[in-house]
Symmetry: C2
Subunit: 326 residues, 2 copies
């Protein structure tokens, strides 16, 4: 094994939560010096990553995502001896009524547990974007020994595509509202989900929950099947009472078993890495274009001309790449 | 107006079908000289593009896409005085049982009409990819005066994402099989569609078609609504008898009216151009990396290291961009 030089990386690998929190702060920092430091740490801890199951949890505000993750997280720690990390992508924190996890007290009991690590979503302004920071935070959590990573997202804007590109399993949490509750979510989200769970199956809701489950089950039959052989299904749960929570975990375990056996688990992670590399190269190139004062003007101008149909994409690309390589 | 220098561009703008066919051949050619020629033509004709409605038609093999386009195309020419072009993306021609439009005779009556232009899908090996060639072919058809452009795709692999990124309206053609017929299509396609049409509503099929329509209608209710205010619906048709064909065109007209009024039509086209520019810049950069013998080795090596979790994406990007800008 390579020697670990950074003391922060050493502490992180030993499972030190403060070191983990510090490393994530470096990843999210807008300072180029912090960012370089973060990259050194990631390079060092990389051999110790990848061993967790990465679970995305999405759904509209009010679907009970935080309560659900808290219930499932507590179950995993107490019954399954797992270590649970929770990260959030919230690109809408400036427009929505509040950040998903802006307030740690929303997962009070889980946050108090020493086998849990909860990280509120970063605000905007992270270099490379919030999604890139979350991807790197996943690696840091894995190196610190967390073997179940939840990525919570509101599923609006681009965040559901982003979360799909960084998790192994995507859970869509629904309210018993037969579709109306998906208002504001991005189209395509239902078909991206590996499991749908109608939450709030408690109190006087049971009848409505069963109806919603049946309707969604019926709808899923009309979707093209997954390449990986997994059949998404619709279950019900109550994050409040805990009903259905162990069964949901069983589904995630089944998924992991199936896709590891048929290699899709591995194939998907490789594809995610390749995709991420391409995105980063593009972002870096575009960033360099934008930061060079001479090129910046040119890029903005070309972009506008293309948008307005005044210049073809090919010509603009040629002009851009020529300025760039000059 | 700018003077048109190329005689091919002049003939094309005059509506000459042979010139149009030649220009598309240049766009699809693997020869760099042809490709440069094509780009000159596109730059010249660009001011005369964008005036058509671009309609994607997708569905599994056997759904009747060709027969459907032929029926709708003949209707548009005879009843609506439109000029109709048909292009195809078929990235699977090597693996599937045959090219979608490999054989023009599949749209015999439409192909004979002087107000129709039908172009079989290019085989692989087009620089910039088949999707890029199709995007440029759309522009060429528009410049030649075609005001309804159909893009036919099998909706497998990446082609349905590609077609969605180049059309205004996406139609999903279904068989009355309640979901089983979507086998092999990419998940997400149902939610990307602006209209679902259950085809083959003729003969003894009527009952099955009605059942499929009802099931899909029910399922659509469970999807998040479109940002553009359009409500996708499920209709029935028979490409064979022509039943339902005028009604489908009415839906497309309604869509155009609505999204032009609320500006989403324009917004989507701008977004498509921006996205396309970014993709092309990335492709060009990656192509240059791959073509430079020194960089090629490095890129392949880094890509493998990232895929296998031996190197972080950020470090690989930094290494790549450094070699590139050196």
């Amino acid at each position: 094994m390579k020697k670990i030089n950074s003391s922060l990386a050493q502490s992180l690998l030993a499972g030190d939560r403060i070191a983990l929190a510090k490393a994530i702060t470096l990843v999210e920092s807008a300072s180029p010096r912090h960012h370089r430091e973060a990259q050194k740490i990631i390079d060092e801890i990389l051999p110790y990553t990848g061993k967790s199951i990465r679970v995305g949890v999405t759904g509209v505000p009010g679907a009970g995502k935080s309560t659900f993750i808290e219930a499932l997280g507590n179950f995993l720690i107490s019954k399954k001896k797992r270590k649970v990390a929770v990260l959030a992508i919230d690109p809408t924190s400036t427009v929505s009524k509040g950040s998903i996890l802006g307030d740690k007290t929303r997962m009070e009991s889980l946050a108090r547990n020493e086998n849990a690590f909860i990280r509120p979503s970063p605000s905007a302004g992270v270099p490379g974007g919030v999604a890139a920071a979350t991807r790197e935070s996943i690696l840091l959590c894995e190196a610190a020994g967390y073997d179940v990573i939840f990525v919570e997202t509101m599923g609006v804007g681009q965040s559901e595509t982003a979360v799909h590109s960084m998790v192994d399993f995507l859970l869509l949490l629904l309210l018993p509202g037969a579709g109306d509750e998906l208002q504001g979510m991005k189209r395509g989200i239902v078909e991206l989900a590996d499991l749908l769970a109608v939450n709030k199956a408690d109190g006087g809701n049971l009848q409505k929950v069963k109806l919603a489950q049946a309707a969604y089950k019926q709808a899923l039959r009309l979707f093209p099947p997954n390449e990986n052989g997994w059949k998404p299904d619709v279950v019900t749960c109550s994050a409040l009472t805990g009903d259905g929570i162990p069964q949901i975990w069983k589904r995630i375990e089944d998924f992991e078993k199936l896709t590891k056996a048929n290699r899709w688990f591995h194939v998907k992670r490789q594809e995610q890495s390749r995709q991420w590399l391409r995105e980063r190269v593009l972002e870096t190139v575009i960033k360099q274009l934008r930061e060079n004062p001479k090129l910046k003007k040119k890029f903005t101008e070309l972009e506008r001309q293309v948008e307005n149909g005044k210049m073809s994409v090919i010509s603009a690309t040629r002009a851009l790449v020529m300025s760039f390589t000059e």
